[in-house]
């Protein structure tokens, strides 16, 4: 158990860095199921450092460094990272859409109960990891299409395609008579 002072330092660090570290891990991981595990390992390491030396100056950059090492260790020891081509032919067809993705497929229409979160989460989890990352960055981290393309090293057209296609699929999945409601 940490003493109270170390606990306060940790809580502050955690609050200040959580979103950025989470985003870093989401962008670098090979399986979305690993994110929580890696995130916890990173902050456990921070706790250990504080336990050893409470005066240690721990910055966001320092924690990002830990995250980088932990991701490398995780995939070295747990399993080899899957290499997925980001540029499969069928996904390269550009769709004429604006910079932002319109709510053309209004998911609200299909929401029915509190299980919807689980349904959407499970749907996204089954998609390619790149799709999950795009949705996370676009809807949760408020990234622009251009920033997502730069971060994930893919073209803007691909980002748009993935967003558009997946939303369409999800709407179709959730609509009455869709796969989810059969």
């Amino acid at each position: 158990m940490l003493d109270q002072e170390a606990l306060k330092i940790f809580e502050k660090l955690y609050e200040e860095t959580y979103q950025e570290i989470l985003r870093y891990i989401v962008c670098k991981c090979s399986n979305i199921e690993d994110v929580k595990d890696i995130l916890q390992t990173v902050y456990l390491e921070v706790l250990k450092k504080l336990e050893k030396d409470i005066s240690l100056k721990i910055t966001k950059q320092y924690i990002l460094g830990i995250a980088k090492n932990k991701i490398n260790e995780y995939y070295r020891f747990n399993y080899k990272a899957k290499i997925i081509s980001l540029f499969e032919k069928k996904d390269n067809q550009e769709i004429e859409i604006s910079e932002t993705i319109p709510d053309e497929f209004d998911l609200q229409t299909y929401l029915t109960n509190k299980n919807d979160v689980e349904i959407i989460w499970n749907f996204l989890k089954k998609k390619k990891i790149i799709i999950f990352k795009i949705f996370y960055l676009y809807y949760y981290s408020d990234y622009k299409i251009k920033d997502i393309a730069n971060t994930l090293n893919i073209s803007e057209a691909n980002v748009k395609n993935y967003l558009y296609r997946t939303l369409k699929e999800l709407a179709s999945f959730m609509e009455p008579g869709g796969e989810n409601n059969v």
């Binding site: 158990m1 003493d3 109270q4 606990l7 809580e11 955690y14 609050e15 959580y18 979103q19 989470l22 994110v35 929580k36 595990d37 995130l39 916890q40 902050y43 456990l44 706790l47 250990k48 336990e51 050893k52 020891f77 747990n78 399993y79 993705i101 709510d103 497929f105 209004d106 998911l107 609200q108 929401l111 919807d116 979160v117 959407i120 989460w121 996204l124 949705f135 996370y136 809807y139 949760y140 939303l167």
Partner: protein
């Protein structure tokens, strides 16, 4: 609700920072206990090897002259201070003040599953614990506004290179707290395993308490109280933070009826 709000809700729930933080603390706690267990088992196996390979008469390490002297010195130095005593017909409370706890670093892993998420009906502990009456009507401070129920799984660690299975349910963990401050009560229990914990200190010379004929040792360290005991076939391990002695006693007497 726009699509953005829907997805935000999904990610907020799945990457909830508060929930993940709680799991980090719990993992830290469990990791340390596992580490200590490993050290103790390594120490025991070293002693066994030593005894097996030597044909001469062996004096077990713990009874060697030096060890006895060392233990006697430790007894003098480590004797716990009693900071609270209370005695009546049904209970005798002695709270042992701990000056220093031993902590350790570990890298092992556990899986924490909230009770709401738990779906494995095959766990032998599950059915029993659903019906556990011991924790009904327990006295929790009135300002506590949050309760979490977790199941603590450990990996069987047959092969560390393989993906972890977390197939072994070790214990249950109920956390009651006030979300506005650090006041909390953490109750771990199991009818099969001793709950895992992260603190470690000498229990020699500490005074035993008794509640309704159940013996237990209560320790205090800074703002925390710790106790472990066996009641109605369940191993209990309780750790509190920033609660009063009165609240602690109310809690214990409401469990050990």
């Amino acid at each position: 609700m726009s699509n953005k709000e829907i997805f935000k809700k999904v990610f907020d729930e799945k990457f909830n920072s508060e929930k993940i933080k709680e799991e980090i603390f719990l993992k830290q706690k469990i990791n340390k206990e596992k580490f200590l267990k490993e050290i103790l088992s390594e120490k025991n196996s070293e002693e066994k090897i030593f005894n097996k390979n030597n044909n001469k008469k062996i004096i077990p390490k713990d009874f060697s002259e030096e060890r006895v002297k060392e233990k006697n010195n430790n007894k003098k130095n480590n004797k716990a201070d009693i900071i609270f005593e209370e005695k009546n017909n049904s209970m005798e409370i002695n709270i042992n003040k701990i000056k220093e706890k031993s902590l350790a670093r570990v890298d092992c892993d556990v899986k924490i599953v909230s009770k709401a998420e738990h779906t494995n009906a095959n766990d032998s502990l599950t059915t029993d614990v659903e019906n556990i009456e011991i924790l009904e009507n327990i006295k929790i401070p009135e300002d506590f506004n949050n309760t979490k129920y977790n199941l603590i799984y450990v990996d069987n660690e047959k092969n560390k290179m393989e993906e972890k299975e977390y197939s072994q349910l070790n214990n249950y963990n109920y956390i009651y707290n006030n979300t506005k401050n650090q006041r909390s009560i953490n109750i771990s229990f199991s009818n099969e395993n001793k709950p895992i914990r992260d603190y470690f200190f000498t229990e020699e010379n500490s005074e035993v308490s008794k509640i309704n004929n159940v013996e237990l040792k209560i320790y205090n360290y800074e703002k925390s109280y710790f106790t472990e005991f066996i009641y109605k076939g369940y191993y209990f391990d309780i750790e509190t933070c920033d609660i009063t002695q009165e609240e602690l006693i109310n809690l214990l007497t409401s469990i050990i009826k």
